[in-house]
Amino acid sequence: MASSAPSDQGVAPLWQYVAVTDYCPPAVTVEHTVRTGLSAFWQHFCTKEPPPETPFKTEEELQSIPGILLERIAPAPDGQRAALALDEALTAWLDSVQMDQPVVLVLHPPYGMHGDILKAWAGLHEWRVLPPPTTGQIFRRETDWIMSGSANLTSWVLPNLERCYLRHAHGLTLVRRLLDQACSGALGRGVIGCDSWAWAFLRRAWSGATPPLLILQSFDQHRLARWFQSFASKSGISDLIFRQADNGDYVLPPPTDTQNESANISDFLQQLAAYSRGIPGIAHAIWRASLRTAPDELPKDASTAKESTYQPTTLWITPWRRFKRPAPTTDLLRQHAFILHTLLLHNGLSAEWLSQLLPASSQPSPATLYRLESAGLIKQQRNGFWQISPLGYPAIRLFLKSEGYLTDDL
C-alpha cells in the first residue's frame, strides 16, 4: 500500500507514505549526541559563557528576514503534494472491491500537517470530510454524532481522530464506538488521520484490531534540502544562496555557476533532520527561524535582476550550535510534565479542558501557561488552544521518554 508522489527517476521521492514498520527517523549523529550530552552536563554545573569566536558574519551584521519576504522564501507548506503521495499509496486500497479493510489510518507526528493533507486528499476524490465532535459532545458521550456525520455516505475522511477523544473516563466511549463501527465497515469506507501521540494512547484504550497504518516518511537532510530548495526556486527571487553565518559553508547546494571547488557543504541540515526527527513541520519552523540576511544584501526579484549586474543573493543561516532552541531546565519540565504530556496526547487543548483533564495537584493556572510559553515550550493558537511549540517539541519528547511517559512510536 505504501507509495510516493511523482519524482525524478533514481531519487527518493520527497513525499512518500510508508507502513509504520518502514518508517525511519533520521539518525542522530554521534557528534550531536556527544555535544548535546556535554553541553547539558556543563549547563548543570557551570553558568559561564563560552569564549567568543570569530564568525564569518557576526550576529550584528545580520538581521531577521522581513515577514513578507520570509513567506516567499519559506512559505507555510500546503498539503497538495503530500496528498498526491497519499493518493498513490492508497491506490491499491481504493481499487480493491473487498470490504475486509474498510478503514485506513494515516498517522502523523505533531506538526505533520495531517489535517491539511487529508482534506486535500478528500478534495481529490470528493469524499466527505467529517468534522470532529465538539468537546461537549465527547464528554456527554453523544455517540449519535457518528451516524449524523456519515448518514447516506459510503466514503468519508476523518482528518483529526485526536479531536474525537479526551483522556477522561467519559472521554473514550465515543471514540471507541467510532473505531468499532468504522473498522467493522458499518460506516462504509473511510480514511482516518490521527496524531501519532493520540494513537499511542488510543491503541491502548481501544481493544479492536488495528487497521492498516500509513505514515509520511521522515525527512532526512537530502529531502529537507530538496524541499527548502523548491521553496527558494518558487520564490521568484533571483539566485538564492544559503550559507552558514559562522564559516560560510553552503547549507543548500549553490547554483552551478557560482560553485567553486573549495565550497564546503554545511552539516546544518543533517543536524536539523536529526533534531526535528524528520518531522517536516518542525524542521520547517526551525528553518524559518534560522534564516538571516545582511541589510546590504537584500534579495532581488528575478524579473528585475539583469544579467549584466548579476549578483546572487545570499541568505545566512544561524549556525546550529548558536541557534537558540528552547532549553528548559529539568525542574521546569518535571514540574509541568502532565501539562505538556496532556497537550501532546490531544494535539492541543483549550485551557478550560486542560484543567478538566488534569488532577487537582497539577491544575494549569494562566501564569503557568504563560511561563511555559515564555520558555518557548508551548504556544497559543488562534482558536485559543494551547499546543506544544514546534521548537520545543524535540526537547519535551526527549524528556518525557526518559521519564517513562507514554510517547509516540515514531
Binding site: 473516563a169 467519559h170 488532577p359
Partner: protein, 272 residues
C-alpha cells in the same frame, strides 16, 4: 601479661615507626575525606539525573564507601604488621573476638550491611517496609538503612533486621510499583459497568504507567462490594498522588453513575 606475650606483641608491631604512624593518620584522614566527598556530592549529582540513572548514581554511594574502607584497612594492616598469614589470623581473630563481645549488635549490623550490599534486599530508591515502617530508601549506610516515610520522617533502621524480619520491597530496584485504590460500594449496582468505569478511571489518570497492566478485582463483603483498582504510576514517588487521583475521580464517576458507597445502613437495607 607474660614475657612471652609481650615479646610476641613487640615482634608483631616491631616495625611500627613514626613514618608509619604518619602514613596511617594520612590514610585515615584520606579515607574520611573520600567518604565525605562521595556522600556529599554523589547524591547532588544524582539529583541532576533523571529516571534510572538517578537510582544507579545513588546506589554507588554505599558501594564506593565499602571499597574505600576495605582499601584503607588493607593499607593500614600492611603497615602495622608483617603481612604473614600467622600475623593476620592472630590479629584479626583477637580483634574480632574483642569487638564481637563488646558490640554484638553493632557488628551484626555491619555484617548485615555487607550482606545487604551483596544480596540487595533494598537499594536506594526502593520503597520498603520493615517492621511496620514504610518509606523510600534514601541511603544505605554502614550500619543502617535510611528511609523517608510518606510523612517526610527519616527512619534509620539497623541492617541486622534482615536476619529475622521480613523485608517488603514494593518496587525492588525497578520503576514499577503497584498502587491500590479501594472502593466500598453498596451491593445493589451493575458490577460490569463499575468494572469498566474503574478501569477507565485508571487508564485516564495522568499518573498512570500505561505500559503496565490495570486490574480491577471485586469481592463481596458483608457490608458491601469491595473493588480493588490496581495500577502502576509512572514514578514510584507519585504513588500517594496516584492513589488520591484514582480515589477522587473514581468516586466522582461512581456518583455520576448513581452507585452509592457502602455504609452501615446498607447492611440494614440488605437485612430488610
Amino acid at each position: 601479661m607474660s614475657n612471652e606475650q609481650t615479646e610476641n606483641l613487640a615482634a608483631l608491631l616491631g616495625h611500627l615507626t613514626e613514618t608509619t604512624i604518619v602514613q596511617i593518620v594520612l590514610i585515615v584522614a584520606g579515607t574520611w575525606l573520600l567518604i565525605a566527598l562521595t556522600q556529599r556530592f554523589l547524591p547532588v549529582l544524582a539529583g541532576k539525573l533523571a529516571g534510572r540513572n538517578r537510582l544507579y548514581m545513588l546506589a554507588l554511594v554505599p558501594a564506593l564507601r565499602l571499597c574505600i574502607i576495605t582499601g584503607a584497612v588493607l593499607l593500614i594492616l600492611q603497615r602495622v604488621i608483617e603481612p604473614t598469614l600467622e600475623n593476620l589470623v592472630g590479629l584479626l581473630g583477637a580483634l574480632g573476638l574483642a569487638v564481637g563481645f563488646a558490640s554484638k549488635d553493632y557488628v551484626s549490623s555491619l555484617i548485615a550491611g555487607v550482606v545487604a550490599s551483596y544480596e540487595m534486599p533494598y537499594r536506594p530508591g526502593d520503597w520498603i517496609e520493615i517492621d511496620g515502617t514504610y518509606g523510600e530508601v534514601q541511603a544505605i549506610r554502614l550500619r543502617t538503612v535510611e528511609i523517608v516515610t510518606p510523612d517526610d520522617t527519616v527512619a534509620h533502621i539497623p541492617h541486622l533486621q534482615i536476619w529475622n524480619q521480613t523485608i517488603l520491597n514494593a518496587n525492588d530496584g525497578s520503576q514499577h510499583l503497584l498502587c491500590v485504590a479501594n472502593f466500598y460500594l453498596h451491593p445493589r449496582h451493575n458490577a460490569v459497568q463499575v468494572l469498566k468505569l474503574l478501569h477507565d478511571v485508571a487508564l485516564t489518570s495522568p499518573f498512570l504507567q500505561i505500559e503496565r497492566p490495570i486490574n480491577v478485582t471485586v469481592q463481596e463483603k458483608p457490608f458491601g462490594t469491595h473493588y480493588c483498582l490496581k495500577a502502576y504510576p509512572i514514578d514510584p514517588r507519585q504513588q500517594f498522588h496516584f492513589v488520591t487521583d484514582l480515589t477522587v475521580r473514581g468516586k466522582a464517576m461512581l456518583l455520576q453513575l448513581g452507585v452509592e458507597s457502602a455504609t452501615t445502613p446498607a447492611i440494614a437495607d440488605l437485612a430488610s
